[in-house]
Amino acid sequence: MSLLQIQNGHLIDPANAIDAIHDLWVEDGRVVAVGAFDRAADQTIDASGKIVCPGLIDMHVHLREPGQEWKEDIESGSRAAVAGGVTSICCMPNTGPHIDHAGVARQIIERARQVGLCNVHPIGAVTKNLEGKELTEMRELTRAGCVAFSDDGMPIWHAGVMRKALEYSASFGYMVIQHAEEKQLTKGGAINEGWVSTQLGVAGMPAVGEDSMIARDIMLTALSDARYHVAHISTAGAVDLVRSARARGLKVTTEAAPHHFALTEDEVLGYNADAKMSPPLRTEADRQAVIEGLRDGTIEVIATDHAPHHEDDKRCGLSCAAFGIVGLETMLPVSLDLVRAGVLSMSDLIAKMTSNPARLLGLNAGTLSVGAEADVVIFDTGAEWVLDRNRMVSKGKNTPWHGKTMTGRVSHTLKAGRVVFAEGEIID
């Protein structure tokens, strides 16, 4: 088999505390050496001046297949992922049918294998039909490949069901990921409740809708010694709640989406439906709190909540437009702003998109240890490019960054040693 040498790159592998110029050697789909090697390469990639790190993991993605393939499917989502340097994704269960049966999970994994561009790990539903009433067969779902549980988009409102979900999933070592939103407080809301919603005359979703459910869930997590993960944390109050729960030693973790640390509610002024998602873009104070949570380690993971929608679902006015934006192709450049702003070291940033989610989910990914599957991303931190939604790989064109200059660009993505994305082209 051929030996690949990725030369002269700045190798960052947080799991192994590597942060230096090293060559990376890949053979038979695996990392065979870091640094010097005793054989000559058959093939080389010059990574001079670039960062070489483990392929990114995005633990919060909506692939829409099965059921809404006009928005995205496993193939288009996989292509978008590798174009963004992402080699492992966790897909949320709000498909049609939902991922509440092992068969659906197996089907998704099988389809992703056929596509062969990136790993797809399903997140199983917590409750049947995402109805918040009866638990799914969680053990069976994990055997089919599910790596965590969530009713994403449909918050588990019933405290009794949530308690049982936390207890039962923890019995097998898995966490419950909650989209925390008290719907009685957010009903009818489209954007953050505050000065912007007042000016636009659009119903808002108050921050307390997120905070109050997280507060309750943390208490239930303490009661059950369970594992609780807050999806797409967006408010200052929620960051404080998670920080204090972790200080008490509870198994509470969270992720932040790039849009929540890069943008504020001001983006929706002018009724911009491409800046509408749930939880919504919040205030500058909330954005700063999310950044502080990333800095101090309260927020261990960056995940995009990639939510592709068809244009028709967005161009019907802010109040009725679908929630969600795409994220796979903008995750890296937007997140690099945290390094440029001095919030995180490059290694800490990469850990939040590789080794940290791998550890939380038990994924065999997110590192370049010798012997590991060679999922690798090579990127140029300084390359500037203008995002054109029409040139995005995802079927979803719903991004608030259309026409904006991005800094940082993926040059190569390798999946199990195979180059699947190089210089702007996907190699199927």
Binding site: E193, W195, S197, T198, G201, V202, G204, Y271, S319, C320
Partner: protein, 311 residues
């Protein structure tokens, strides 16, 4: 003056444009009182009134305004539930625009209706006749004309708006106009009917109606929607609402004999306003209706090329 291409809201017009429209409206009052109520100003122009929400006065007001200026006026009433038919709104708008009207007057429950349509209807002048809880600019121009008749200028005056501020597009347009024209808005409502951070408009906020009355130059009563009772527990009963926030004779006496009583209509007599107050000499409610036609004539004239100007 900056030419007017659309009228989305008070947010998008400056003081000069507002005063121009109010003054032009003022000049149309006399036309409306003549025996022959017709001017040739908009001959050959097509105005479509596209109303997705029930409205008698605003739609009729626009219709009369267009007809008295000799425009061809077409009325379309389309029913739609809240915000669910947004896509058909866009299709309806594009379809009508393809018929080459000069002006499309739109009322819809969706905040930002004009902003949504404008991207797809580049050649049609759009007038916002009320979009959700966002803006209702022609109502506020109407009110400004009514105030002009009594006061000359609203500058330095205190207008006290009472009722469901949360859902009121009229209140929002007044809050924006107040800043541009130098009058003060006092808002009176329980916290359940006030939108988040509304004080950032620079207004005064009261929960006690009686405390807000002294110093008010106008008491502006908003229609209370009784659905709010069941929808979101905004207030417990009509009876309690009328006690706390209704304008009755006693409160009017406290306000003094110079205080104007206003209401954008339609009124709920016995709820936000007592019948004797609505029919009192201090009530300007029917003047508002009359001025509404004049102001809408001004808006249509300005959008179709301005008085005496060629396109």
């Amino acid at each position: 003056m900056r030419p007017l291409k659309h009228l989305f809201g008070i947010a998008d017009v400056d003081r000069e444009q507002i005063e121009y429209l109010v003054n032009l409206g003022h000049s149309f009052i006399d036309v409306n009182r003549r025996a022959i109520k017709k001017a040739p100003t908009l001959r050959g122009k097509t105005v479509i009134n596209l109303f997705f929400e029930n409205s008698t006065r605003t739609r009729t007001s626009f219709e009369i305004a267009g007809k008295r200026l000799s425009a061809d006026v077409i009325n379309i009433s389309a029913s739609t539930s809240a915000t669910s038919k947004g896509e058909s709104l866009l299709d309806t708008g594009m379809t009508l625009a393809a018929m080459q009207p000069h002006v499309l007057v739109i009322r819809h429950s969706l905040a930002g209706t004009c902003q949504l349509l404008a991207d797809y209807l580049p050649d049609t002048a759009l007038v916002n006749a009320g979009d959700g809880a966002h803006e209702h600019p022609t109502q506020v121009l109407t009110d400004l004309l009514t105030m002009k008749q009594s006061w000359g200028s609203p500058e330095g005056k205190v207008i006290t708006i009472v009722g469901d501020i949360s859902h009121s597009r009229v209140a929002r347009s007044h809050l924006l106009a107040a800043k541009k024209l130098g009058y003060t808005v006092r808002l009176v409502a329980p916290k359940t009917l006030l939108p988040s951070q509304v004080e950032r408009y620079g207004c005064e906020v009261y929960h006690d109606f009686d405390a807000a009355i002294p110093g008010s130059d106008a008491l502006y009563m908003l229609r209370i929607q009784t659905e709010r009772l069941t929808d979101n527990c905004a207030f417990p009963s009509v009876r309690e609402y009328h006690e706390a926030y209704g304008l009755n004779g006693k409160r009017l006496r406290a306000a003094g004999s110079d205080c104007m009583v206003m209401h954008p209509g339609p009124m709920n007599r016995g709820v936000e306003i007592a019948t004797d107050v609505a029919d009192s000499v201090q009530s300007h409610i029917l003047s508002q209706v009359e001025h509404g036609v004049a102001v809408r004539m001004a808006v249509l004239t300005a959008l179709c090329g301005g008085a005496g100007e060629e396109e």
